[in-house]
Each structure stands twice: as structure tokens, then as C-alpha cells.
């Protein structure tokens, strides 16, 4: 099986869907001629033509609005936000229109909004955000965040095929750093709403997603070697709807759980997950639910400051030790 990067897996997924279904088309800034800011859609213009790979003006609200209209007409648009940070410009369209169109007017809106997500790349505050908290409380949307190349492919295909709007957060740090063997000639589909146990363990659980799955796995290895701890790592993969059953299962298994996410602390999804754990599994907790998150500051540009603000493997290790000792 050939080794494929996370980015290449995403590209494969998009390409396969576009070949499979003529109604799938792409729109976004620089997706066509330039092949995408990160080259995700390189070669697509040549293969699928200008009516299916559309270079748009710098106007996220308009892009999303146009996609919504196209979706109502039976197309399956895949919108790219050049950096997911810019999805904020389309917030009104997404929350006030796209998310509720089916509910309000019976108008299906099968579209995907995808974009590079997260930091660790010295991108500064406009190019490193994790915006899930802004959308997770909006019924009508789905949100996915793959951590592996396989899920990058599986989830983009699932998102395209989903009859409802899906926000797809691809982590820019993982684009070229993750390489995996992916089967050829086999349909790779990851179900939306299902988490994955990335590493089994018995002493404590880390609930996480996207790039931090990898740091959590590093931390788990270190904790096993140095502390003899058996750490379970749960990769949520989908943030909305969250896999409650998987979260409950891991909490009840290890009785000690921590949430690790790259988003800021206040209002980040760790609070939501903690509340759910509290509701479903309070009697199984042998320690309070803890979290490791980014600090509540705008993301700095200076490398040393970015490193200090974002969660690192040693932060995860430290919190896991506290949790294990409680």
C-alpha cells in the first residue's frame, strides 16, 4: 500500500468524490488556477474544468451564500476557506441561513465548508484558529476534524455525501507531517459521529482530536515508559454530533479523564465534554475531569510565545500525572 500524506489523502478524497458525482464542485479563493494555498486542489482545474473548480473573490459570506444557493438547486458544493479563521466572515450565512434552511423551509443544504485549521506553524492569530466553539452550539451543522490521513480521506468523502452542511477542519500542521499507508482501489469512508480509540489504556483517558491526538499519543508513550501508566487516547473525529457513547465508555473504563484541545480554554469544548461526563458518568469518576488547552490569549506570532500558549506534549504529560495521582 502506498504511503500517503494527510494532505494527499484529503486530495484523493475530493478527487474521488468529484469523479463519482458530477454535482460536486469546488469554490474558494485560489482553489483553481493556483491549486489552493496549500495545494490541496492542485490539478483539479485541469481535470474537472472551470465550471467545477471556481476561483472566487475574497468574500467568504458571498462564497458560502452562493454555495447555499447551489446546494438548494441540487449541487454539492465544497467551499474552501483559505484559512479556517476566515469562516468568521461567513458566520451569519452559516448560522442564520445554512444551518437552519432545512428546518425553516425544508430546503436541503448539502454543502461542505473546509479549511486549514489550528496552529503550531508560526501563523499568528489570523491563520491559526480553532473555531469549533463558535459553531458547535448551532443545531443543523455538523463538524468534523480528522487526525489521521485515513480519516482525512474518509471524512471528506462522508462530508460530501452528507445531506446536510458539514464543517471540515483539516489541520495545517498535519498536512505534510502525517504519512500513512492507505489502501488503493478501496472505498475509504469514515462515519460522521463516531469516535476512534487511538490507543487503548486502563489508567486514564485522554479525549482529544486533530493534531493533539498525536501529541497525546506521544505523551501516552512517555507515561508508559516513565510512569508505567496505561493511557487510553480517544480521537473524537467528529465534534458535532459528539460520540457520547464512546466518551462514556472510556470514562467508565478508566475512571479518570482529561480533555486536550488546541482551542482556548474559556468556552472551549472541554467544558461541554466535562458537562456530558458529569451527566452520564459522575459515579464512575475517581478524579475530577481535567483539561489541557491553549491559554486565553490571541495566538502570538513569536515562536517562543506560540509554544508557550499552545498545548505541548509536556503539558499533557504533566496533567496526566496529576490526574493519575489524585
Amino acid at each position: 500500500m502506498p504511503e500517503v500524506t494527510y494532505l494527499e489523502a484529503l486530495r484523493q478524497g475530493l478527487r474521488e468524490e468529484m469523479r463519482r458525482d458530477e454535482s460536486v464542485f469546488l469554490l474558494g479563493e485560489d482553489v483553481g488556477l493556483y491549486g489552493g494555498a496549500f495545494k490541496v486542489t492542485e490539478g483539479f482545474l485541469a481535470e474537472f474544468g472551470a465550471s467545477r473548480v471556481i476561483d472566487t473573490p475574497i468574500a467568504e459570506a458571498a462564497i458560502v451564500g452562493a454555495a447555499a444557493g447551489a446546494a438548494h438547486m441540487g449541487m454539492r458544493p465544497v467551499v474552501e476557506m483559505q484559512f479556517i479563521d476566515f469562516i468568521a466572515c461567513a458566520y451569519n450565512l452559516l448560522t442564520n441561513y445554512v444551518a437552519t434552511a432545512r428546518y425553516r423551509a425544508g430546503l436541503a443544504c448539502p454543502m461542505v465548508v473546509r479549511g486549514p485549521y489550528g496552529g503550531y506553524v508560526r501563523g499568528g492569530p489570523f491563520h491559526s484558529q480553532c473555531p469549533e466553539a463558535a459553531f458547535v452550539h448551532t443545531p443543523g451543522l455538523k463538524i468534523v476534524a480528522p487526525a489521521t490521513a485515513r480519516d482525512a480521506k474518509g471524512l471528506i468523502k462522508a462530508a460530501v455525501r452528507d445531506p446536510d452542511p458539514v464543517l471540515y477542519f483539516e489541520h495545517k500542521f498535519l498536512y505534510r507531517r502525517i504519512k500513512e499507508d492507505l489502501p488503493e482501489g478501496e472505498e475509504v469512508l469514515t462515519p460522521i459521529g463516531v469516535a476512534r480509540v487511538a490507543r487503548e489504556g486502563t489508567d486514564l483517558s485522554i479525549v482529544t482530536w486533530s493534531a493533539l491526538v498525536w501529541k497525546s499519543l506521544d505523551a501516552a508513550r512517555q507515561l508508559e515508559q516513565e510512569d508505567g501508566l496505561s493511557v487510553e487516547v480517544l480521537d473524537l473525529r467528529t465534534l458535532l454530533p459528539m460520540d457520547d457513547a464512546a466518551i462514556q465508555a472510556t470514562v467508565r473504563k478508566t475512571n479518570r479523564v482529561m480533555v486536550v484541545h488546541e482551542d482556548t480554554r474559556t468556552g472551549g469544548l472541554a467544558g461541554e465534554i466535562t458537562a456530558r461526563v458529569n451527566e452520564s458518568s459522575f459515579e464512575w469518576l475517581d478524579a475530577p475531569v481535567r483539561r489541557v488547552t491553549a491559554a486565553d490569549v490571541p495566538l502570538p506570532y513569536a515562536p517562543s510565545l506560540e509554544d508557550a500558549v499552545l498545548p505541548q506534549t509536556e503539558d499533557i504529560v504533566r496533567m496526566a500525572r496529576e490526574l493519575a495521582a489524585y
Binding site: E283, W284, L285, D286, A287, A325, Y326
Partner: protein, 467 residues
């Protein structure tokens, strides 16, 4: 006649207060329903406010020029009987916070706070309240497991932060038969003597007794040192205690301190049992079991425990736990120490089953091949000092049980028998002394004696059909 409050209305979603700019009616004046009675001035709009009902303006509570929060009562109208509006009287409740004031912060759940606050003071002279103990020493999981297993977790030394009892501590405690916790939490093992078989018990640091002076000091060995502690003299041979020796020592002392030991002695005529044994022992050997006096006794004890459940129990705090299974431990003396393998559900086995099980356990005990769960969860223990010739024994209870039977040697001794015609004769009989040590916290003399009387009768009239 009814009193109706007139309130400062909310003129818009975001408006929180209003200024009463002008009264258009005076106190005592009649008002008609919907007739304007006062004017207000707000951020957004000035307005005339109508009377909610017909009546008489009874009281003015807010003066012209005063600014009050929305829903404040500004006046009272006395309505005419039967002319009251359908609108219920506004409850004269205090106005909600006008410019949104921060709501009082609810105290976070105790467990979460505990993590953020400095650690609670270590066990000081002041006794903790139950609530404090709970908060600082347990988690929801531990409390639930403790409740399910009827364990008082507050007595378990905790290995978590600040002495918190963790799931591991609790489960370890339950598995070890709930043996009373030893003073040093981290260092001392919790397993009772019977668990010493498997070499995997927690290591107890073997420290030679050091202090000569000072009051009773509990060391890691659990053996208290006293001012008259033994000191080696020249020529003495010093040997550190083996693990099994240490555990036995700890257990014996602890058992004496835990139970109110009383021993009752009974003499049993084993002549009939001996005869039955002679008759059947070869058949038993051929089937792979050794028929011994102890086998008969174990079987008889199992039957009697069914009839006298208080002897098959355990004490936990202020509760008596009546054990469902009858698991009889048989003490085996090995070169390296004492071990108590357990015949599980002995009452469900036939005499043959008991005999075979006992032989198998004893063999494997000597070969050090017992499994951990074969020395756990005993509910009653039998020990056999008679095997070494002892006349009778007054054994120490194997915690957390409430009784132990010491079996003396079976010997020919003269006994007075009454013949059918009433004549008394002295005849040689095979006699055996039994010593039942029991925990007088829950077993009274009468309970013990009833059990022993039953046991004696069963042994002296052992049914041949049971073989």
C-alpha cells in the same frame, strides 16, 4: 375592593429602567381603565402609561423625577369591587437587577474546589466531620463502590493526594477481605495471613526495631515497640522476618486487638467417626481422596454453619455481614509458615468432595502452587494443633471472620458411659477436644454453645449415609 399595583413598564427589550416624569392624577382621584395616569421617560421613548384598571389612585410610591428599575411598583390603585381586570395583581417582588449585575457565583462542586485549594490540614487533633472526611478522602466512584460493597471507606488509608482513597485502594481492600487497615498506609500491606501464599503481596519494608525509648510506636511492621523492646545480646542470632512471618505477626496482633476473643471448649466422642473412617478409607483412597478426621469435622462444621449463620459472618463497623457462601479455611503448617487454603462452598460438597478438596489444597500448598483466590474469601477457619499432639487449642480468629475452631488430638481416654439399664461404666473411647474461639462482639456464648452442641452431636452421630 382590592389593591392593584401599578408598575413601571418595560418599553423595550433592552430597557432596564425608566424615569417617572409626571403624574397626571393625584392621590384620591378616581381613574378609569386605560386612562393615562403617569408619564415616563426612557432611553428610547417617552410615553403616557394607562391605568390597568378602574378605581381610585390610593398611593403614589415613586415621585416625579425619580428613576426606577423596570417593574418597580410606582403606585397602588384601589379597584372597585367586581371591576378588577383579568390581569392578576403583580407580585410585589423586588425588581430584577436593572443594569445586569453579575449573578452570585454558585459554589463549585466540592470535589473540584478541593483540587484548587491548598490541601486540607493533615489529620489534626480536631475530629473531622463526616462531610469533611467525605470531601477530602473520596470520589464519586469510591463512594459508589464502597456503598455497593458495604465497605466503610473512611477507615481505608488512601494512596491518593492528601490521603484520598482511590479506586485501587478500595478494591485492594475488598479483595484482601477487608482486613483492618494498618497504621502506615503506604508501607504496610493489607492482606491478611491467608494471602501470604502468593509471593506477590505488597512488600513490607523490613526494618529492624530501632527505638528503645519512647511510648508505643507503630512501625511499618505493625508490631508495636515498647520501652521494654527486645535488644540483641552478644551471641544472639539475628534474623530478619520473612514476608510470611511479618504478615502472620501483624495479623495475630491485629486480630487480638480487633475481636473480643472468647474460647469455648467441648469434648467430642470420635469413636463412631473412627469406625466409619476405618470402614471407608480404602474406598476413598481408591477414588483419590484421603479420609481424615479433619475431613469429617470440616463437613460437619459446614452443615452446622448453615444452621448457625452468626458464626459464618463478619463485622464491618456497626454492621454484621452474614456471608452467603460457606468457605472453610483449613490452616496448614508449612516449613516456612502458616497458610490457610479455603474449601469453597463446603456445605455444597459431599464428604468425599470435602476430603478430596482438602487433600488437593494441602498438596498444592506444600508445593507452593496455590492460586491467589484459593486463599481468599474464607468465612470460617479450622486449625489442627492436635496434629502435633496438642490436647486442645484456643486459636486466634482469622480476620475478618468471627470464629475459628481449634481441633485437639484424637486419643483414647477413659470416659464414663451410661448403659441402657442405667449402669455407669468406664470405657476407653476415642476422645477429642475442640476449642472454638469466637468474637464476642457479635457471637454470644449461647450462639457459640448452640453451634458447638450441634457440631458435637453431628460428629458423635455421624450418618453413615453421608460417606
Amino acid at each position: 375592593m382590592a389593591r392593584l399595583d401599578v408598575i413601571m413598564p418595560q418599553m423595550g427589550e433592552s430597557i432596564a429602567e425608566g424615569t417617572l416624569s409626571r403624574w397626571m392624577k393625584k392621590v384620591g382621584e378616581p381613574v378609569k381603565r386605560d386612562e393615562p395616569i403617569f408619564e415616563i421617560s426612557t432611553d428610547k421613548v417617552d410615553a403616557e402609561i394607562p391605568a390597568p384598571s378602574a378605581g381610585v389612585l390610593l398611593e403614589i410610591k415613586v415621585q416625579e423625577g425619580q428613576t426606577v428599575p423596570v417593574l418597580t411598583v410606582v403606585a397602588v390603585i384601589e379597584t372597585e369591587a367586581g371591576a378588577s381586570s383579568a390581569v392578576p395583581v403583580a407580585a410585589p417582588a423586588p425588581a430584577p437587577a436593572a443594569p445586569p449585575r453579575p449573578a452570585p457565583v454558585a459554589a463549585p462542586a466540592p470535589v473540584v474546589v478541593a483540587a484548587a485549594l491548598p490541601p486540607p490540614p493533615a489529620a489534626g487533633p480536631r475530629a473531622e466531620t463526616a462531610e469533611e472526611r467525605l470531601r477530602s478522602r473520596s470520589t464519586p466512584l469510591v463512594r459508589r463502590l464502597a456503598a455497593e460493597n458495604h465497605v466503610d471507606f473512611t477507615v481505608i488509608p488512601g494512596s491518593g493526594v492528601d490521603g484520598r482513597v482511590t479506586k485501587k485502594d478500595l478494591l485492594g481492600y475488598i479483595e484482601a477481605g477487608g482486613a483492618a487497615a494498618l497504621p502506615q498506609a503506604a508501607a504496610a500491606p493489607r492482606a491478611p495471613v491467608s494471602a501470604a501464599a502468593s509471593a506477590q503481596t505488597a512488600a513490607a519494608p523490613t526494618r529492624a526495631p530501632t527505638s528503645l525509648a519512647g511510648p508505643l510506636v507503630s512501625t511499618a511492621s505493625g508490631i508495636e515497640e515498647t520501652p521494654w523492646a527486645a535488644v540483641p545480646w552478644p551471641g544472639d542470632r539475628i534474623e530478619p522476618m520473612s514476608k510470611i512471618r511479618m504478615l502472620t505477626a501483624q495479623h495475630m496482633v491485629l486480630s487480638r486487638r480487633t475481636s473480643a476473643h472468647v474460647t469455648s471448649f467441648y469434648e467430642v466422642d470420635m469413636t463412631r467417626v473412627a469406625r466409619l473412617r476405618e470402614a471407608h478409607k480404602r474406598a476413598y483412597e481408591e477414588r483419590g481422596a484421603k479420609l481424615t478426621y479433619l475431613g469429617f469435622i470440616t463437613k460437619a462444621v459446614a452443615d452446622c454453619l448453615r444452621r448457625h449463620p452468626i458464626l459464618n459472618a463478619a463485622v464491618q463497623g456497626a454492621t454484621v455481614i452474614y456471608r452467603q457462601p460457606i468457605n472453610i479455611g483449613i490452616a496448614v503448617a508449612l516449613e516456612w509458615g502458616l497458610i490457610v487454603p479455603v474449601v469453597r462452598s463446603a456445605d455444597e460438597l459431599s464428604l468425599f468432595g470435602v476430603a478430596r478438596s482438602m487433600r488437593d489444597l494441602a498438596d498444592r500448598a506444600r508445593a507452593k502452587r496455590l492460586k491467589p483466590d484459593e486463599v481468599q474469601q474464607g468465612t470460617f477457619t479450622i486449625t489442627n494443633p492436635g496434629g502435633f499432639g496438642s490436647y486442645v487449642g484456643a486459636p486466634i480468629i482469622n480476620q475478618p471472620q468471627v470464629a475459628i475452631l481449634g481441633v485437639g488430638a484424637v486419643e483414647k481416654r477413659p470416659k464414663v458411659l451410661t448403659l441402657d439399664d442405667g449402669t455407669d461404666v468406664i470405657a476407653p473411647r476415642l476422645l477429642m477436644m475442640l476449642g472454638l474461639s469466637y468474637d464476642h462482639r457479635v457471637v454470644d456464648g449461647a450462639d457459640a454453645d448452640r453451634f458447638m452442641a450441634d457440631l458435637k452431636r453431628l460428629l458423635e452421630e455421624f450418618p453413615e449415609g453421608a460417606l
